[in-house]
């Protein structure tokens, strides 16, 4: 408190003398530089983060303002019409597929009890750990034209026996539906668990049968959750350009990849990438439209879920069978196949140079993922703290902008980051500071930047959840006890949101390990990750060699899925959760 200037008038017990009031006017607390900076620093940091996230998207979006006629004409005369049609068909097909699987299984496991229903409640989310490019190549290799299944088929029924074409739009839709339905499943089931119970029972007492009640009362209540789930699914589908290539499906994202990796024509790639962005905006628009005026997650308090009714006999058998088939196709069988290949590969003694570089690839993957996770966690921590210490409305807007990367498909982020780095490079060159290599065909810095933009949202969500455990009044108390915001962040907010931040680290690390489109577009020459290795080997039909890196990714990706399952199980016991919330931080995950 050395900066507080208090005049040292002699103590006097009487009323203050008239001169006192004018004397008091001179008594001020002198604010030091730190105080003055703090007022600007928090909103400044939040807006800097928002700016860095938005910049790539903005650079990309503005590239459409000066369109290059030759690019569009050439594209329009060759691939573009087909790409647009195939993108629409793929998105529609995957939406319908995930809707049927996700909502169907959510209803089945919430409203009924049958052998294994509790177990399937979390087994059915395991496909979240299976990247589409892994399931894609396993599917093709096993039941594709050259695979063992079709070989057997032809041996049985002759060389011309009809078999559905796996390398097709239908195959791609099936694969995406199988790996992406858990997003719809999770959100629909949460809504069923948290809010639909009372309305369902009310409808039953009013004379509606279970299916009528489900259709007329429960489904409309689930609409916001389903819309959110399908939107995530469409974004994931849109961002992909690897899996679809296995199936000869040509989407606009593939178009971006082909132009960039084929010609390194930045302008042409960015113009087609604006189309991908347009699709993403359309997805968000559709989500808003479907959600209507309902608020997602509006129900609070002790709303009860639907009480499951037991199924028996045939019906129970069908329910268990359906769950088993989908779990087997989407996760169990492909995992087994990967293990078999990996073991065969390890037994065969011809260790190829590629296998020997497994350590390198794993190191690259982990290095990239860890750096991005730390960046995301730190930025998320600063941004959420800024909204606690700074002007709420402005920093809140900054936080929302910082999270915008989740809604921007990978190719858009990647090309946008390239444009932003080129602009930075130009600016630096103008003031005489070269940044060699940054804006070239790809760089590690670009990769880290793009990953951080794309995966900031889960980190922000986790950091916000962590800070929610510190009440606004608690922060206020800490300030009146003489601590600056930075000290409060370090001594109060950080220790209390440590668990949430650890979760954020894990989530971002795994997402980054699985990520393929961005690294394919932006990786520097010779920088291979597990996902790139998997994709390249699978593209050349060297499935056995691809098994080891693919399996490694699946095993890592199972970690957050397991954490999610555990937390979902724990949530059913509300009392235990409340207890955990009040227990000292530090226990729990990690």
């Amino acid at each position: 408190m050395t900066s507080v200037i208090v005049d040292d008038r002699p103590d006097c017990d009487g009323p203050p003398d008239p001169a006192g009031s004018s004397e008091q006017n001179r008594r001020r607390v002198e604010l030091d530089l730190g105080d003055r900076l703090a007022v600007l620093a928090w909103p400044g940091a939040a807006w800097l983060a928002a700016l860095l996230v938005v910049a790539p998207v903005a650079f990309l979006a503005t590239s459409i303002l000066s369109p290059r006629g030759d690019v569009w004409r050439q594209q329009w005369e060759t691939r573009l019409p087909g790409e647009l049609v195939q993108t629409v068909v793929l998105l529609a097909g995957v939406s319908i597929g995930t809707l049927v699987l996700g909502v169907g299984f959510a209803w089945l496991t919430s409203a009924y009890r049958f052998p294994g229903s509790r177990l399937f409640g979390w087994l059915l989310i395991s496909p979240l750990a299976m990247p589409s490019y892994v399931l894609g190549f396993v599917t093709l290799s096993v039941i594709g034209f050259t695979g063992p299944l079709q070989g057997w088929w032809r041996a049985q029924f002759g060389a011309d026996a009809w078999f559905p074409d796996v390398r097709s739009m239908g195959g791609a839709i099936a694969v995406f539906s199988l790996v992406l339905y858990p997003y719809v499943f999770l959100l629909a089931r949460a809504a069923l668990r948290d809010q639909a119970g009372a309305a369902f029972e009310a409808a039953r007492t009013l004379g509606a049968g279970p299916l009528e009640a489900a259709r007329r009362v429960v489904l409309p209540q689930l609409r916001p959750a389903i819309a959110a789930g399908v939107a995530v699914v469409m974004m994931e589908t849109l961002t992909d350009f690897a899996t679809v290539q296995y199936f000869d499906v040509d989407t606009v994202s593939v178009g971006v990849f082909r132009i960039w990796r084929g010609t390194f024509d930045r302008d042409a790639a960015s113009e087609i990438a604006t189309l991908v962005l347009a699709f993403a905006l359309a997805v968000i628009g559709i989500e808003r439209l479907l959600r209507g005026r309902a608020r997602f997650g509006e129900a609070a308090g002790r709303a009860s879920g639907i009480v499951p009714r037991p199924l028996s006999g045939m019906r129970a058998g069908v329910a268990t069978g359906l769950c088993t088939v989908v779990f087997a196709l989407s996760f169990l069988l492909p995992s087994i196949q990967l293990v078999v290949w990996a073991v065969e590969r390890a037994r065969s003694d011809n260790g190829t140079p590629v296998t020997e570089r497994f350590g390198d690839f794993l190191y690259h993957s982990l290095l990239l993922a860890t750096i991005c996770a730390v960046i995301c966690a730190v930025v998320a921590m600063v941004v959420t703290n800024a909204s606690r210490f700074g002007h709420r409305r402005s920093t809140g807007l900054a936080a929302r902008l910082t999270a915008v990367g989740y809604a921007v498909p990978g190719p858009v982020v990647a090309i946008g980051v390239l444009l932003a780095l080129v602009a930075l490079d130009d600016a630096l060159e103008r003031i005489g500071l070269g940044l060699p290599g940054v804006a070239a065909t790809g760089s590690f810095l670009g990769l880290v930047y793009a990953y951080s933009v794309r995966f900031m949202a889960p980190a922000l969500n986790a950091a916000e959840a962590g800070l929610d455990q510190v009440s606004v009044d608690m922060t206020a108390s800490a300030r009146t006890l003489g601590h600056r915001p930075s000290s409060i962040m370090a001594r109060i907010h950080f220790p209390l949101s440590r668990t949430s931040l650890a979760t954020a680290l894990v989530l971002v690390t795994i997402d980054a390990l699985k990520e393929l489109p961005i690294v394919l577009l932006l990786r520097p020459f010779g920088f291979d990750t597990l996902s790139v290795w998997t994709f390249n080997l699978a593209s050349e039909s060297r499935f056995e060699q691809a098994a080891l890196p693919a399996l490694t990714i699946v095993v890592f990706a199972l970690i957050p899925v397991a954490v999610l399952s555990l937390s979902l199980n724990a949530r059913s016991d509300a009392a235990a959760a409340a207890e955990r919330a009040t227990a000292p931080a530090g226990e729990g995950l990690l």
Binding site: M1, T2, S3, V4, V6, D11, C12, D13, G14, P15, P16, Q24, N25, R27, R28, V29, L31, D35, A38, V39, S471, D473, M474, A476, S477, A478, R479, T480, L481, G482, H483, R484, R491, I492, P495, L496, T582, A583, P584, A585, G586
Partner: protein
């Protein structure tokens, strides 16, 4: 910060205005608190009392006006001192103890610029003041609600603030504990000579805690003064009704001077126009009389007393307390008399 001169202003709020969008949360508020007095700030929810407290603490910023704490200008709507430099202590309704720190670490959190040993010593003393000397190593979740609020008080007092602020500090405690804790808190403030502002919506608490009382409504201060003065001579009907049960009788011109159904009212000639007179339940007495023109219209048991609603001849109702040993029945007739020494208080017309 401590050791401020007795009688010097601990807090001066001058013309404070705080707006949120289109609503004005506090509207040209001025008040002054002298060392080491305790001010109770009372009013219905949404009247702006918490906003005023937050502005004093530095958690909200004024749009107009100024605030001085212990003679130091902390907010003149341009120049603002952050909360951590205002030298105040703050206690909230919900305990805001840091869950990852032990009791002693919580209390030490605010003691700065002294060595760890000295800080520990001061924190121990603060815990002794709130009678929690043996609780050093407990964690907040191991404490009862009352103990948590005591630790919060000790934590706020330990840095020896120039001014303590309380935002409904006892609202989440059960009534018996609340009264006890209130006495303890007042005792601790008196013992340390710390001036304080108490925000509450509880009338009884407001009357009990303060040397001064300020009644707020809709962003304005309706009246300030020592609690007995405000209670017995309310500035308007709102203040009269907010601080306790009151009956209002219309004043008419009875020829010889202003009167109500209960007799003459002493209205100061230079006072503002008074249209009603206030009568508290302990000011009037019901005397059973079969020929009386007053009728008991309702009774309610309050424990120590019966609360009787009495309909007078002119149709107005007045409430009177009656000893539990002397009950009356609904429909009983009688007369209503003023208690000796209890005048009817003329109340100016409400704004």
């Amino acid at each position: 910060m401590s050791g401020a001169t007795n009688g010097a202003p601990a807090l001066v709020v001058d013309g404070a205005v705080k707006r949120y969008d289109s609503t004005t949360a506090i509207d040209r508020i001025s008040l002054e608190l002298t060392n080491p007095d305790i001010l109770a700030l009372v009013g219905p929810s949404g009247c702006g009392k918490s906003t005023l407290l937050r502005s004093i603490a530095g958690l909200a910023h004024l749009d107009e006006g100024s605030i001085r704490i212990n003679g130091v200008l902390v907010d003149d709507s341009r120049h603002r001192v952050p909360p951590e430099k205002r030298g105040i202590g703050l206690v909230f309704q919900e305990h805001t103890l840091f869950p990852h720190l032990s009791v002693i670490d919580n209390v030490m959190f605010g003691i700065r610029d002294v060595g760890r040993k000295a800080a520990r010593q001061r924190a121990s003393e603060a815990l002794e003041v709130v009678e929690l000397a043996g609780f050093h190593d407990r964690y907040p979740h191991e404490l009862s609600g009352g103990e948590r609020q005591r630790v919060a008080l000790a934590r706020a007092l330990a840095p020896r603030p120039a001014l303590m602020l309380f935002d409904e500090p006892f609202a989440s405690l059960d009534p018996n504990l609340r009264t006890q804790l209130r006495r303890d808190v007042i005792g601790a403030l008196r013992a340390t000579g710390t001036p304080a502002v108490f925000v509450t919506h509880d009338q009884d608490e407001a009357l009990a805690v303060g040397d001064q009382l300020a009644v707020m409504r809709a962003g304005r201060i309706e009246q300030t003064g020592p609690p007995p003065n405000v209670f017995h001579e309310p500035a308007n009907r709102f203040v009269a009704a907010y601080l306790g049960e009151a009956s209002f009788l219309p004043i008419s011109d009875g020829g010889a001077g202003p009167v109500t159904a209960l007799g003459p009212v002493a209205v100061e000639s230079d006072g503002v126009e008074a249209d009603v007179a206030m009568v508290r339940p302990d000011d009037v007495r019901f005397v059973p009389d079969p020929d009386g023109d007053a009728v008991i219209s309702a009774i309610e048991f309050r424990g120590v007393t019966w609360s009787c609603s009495i309909m007078l001849a002119d149709g107005t109702t007045v409430v009177s307390n009656r000893s539990h040993v002397d009950p009356v029945a609904v429909g009983a007739r009688g007369r209503v008399e003023m208690m000796p020494g209890h005048p009817q208080i003329p109340i100016p017309a409400d704004r």
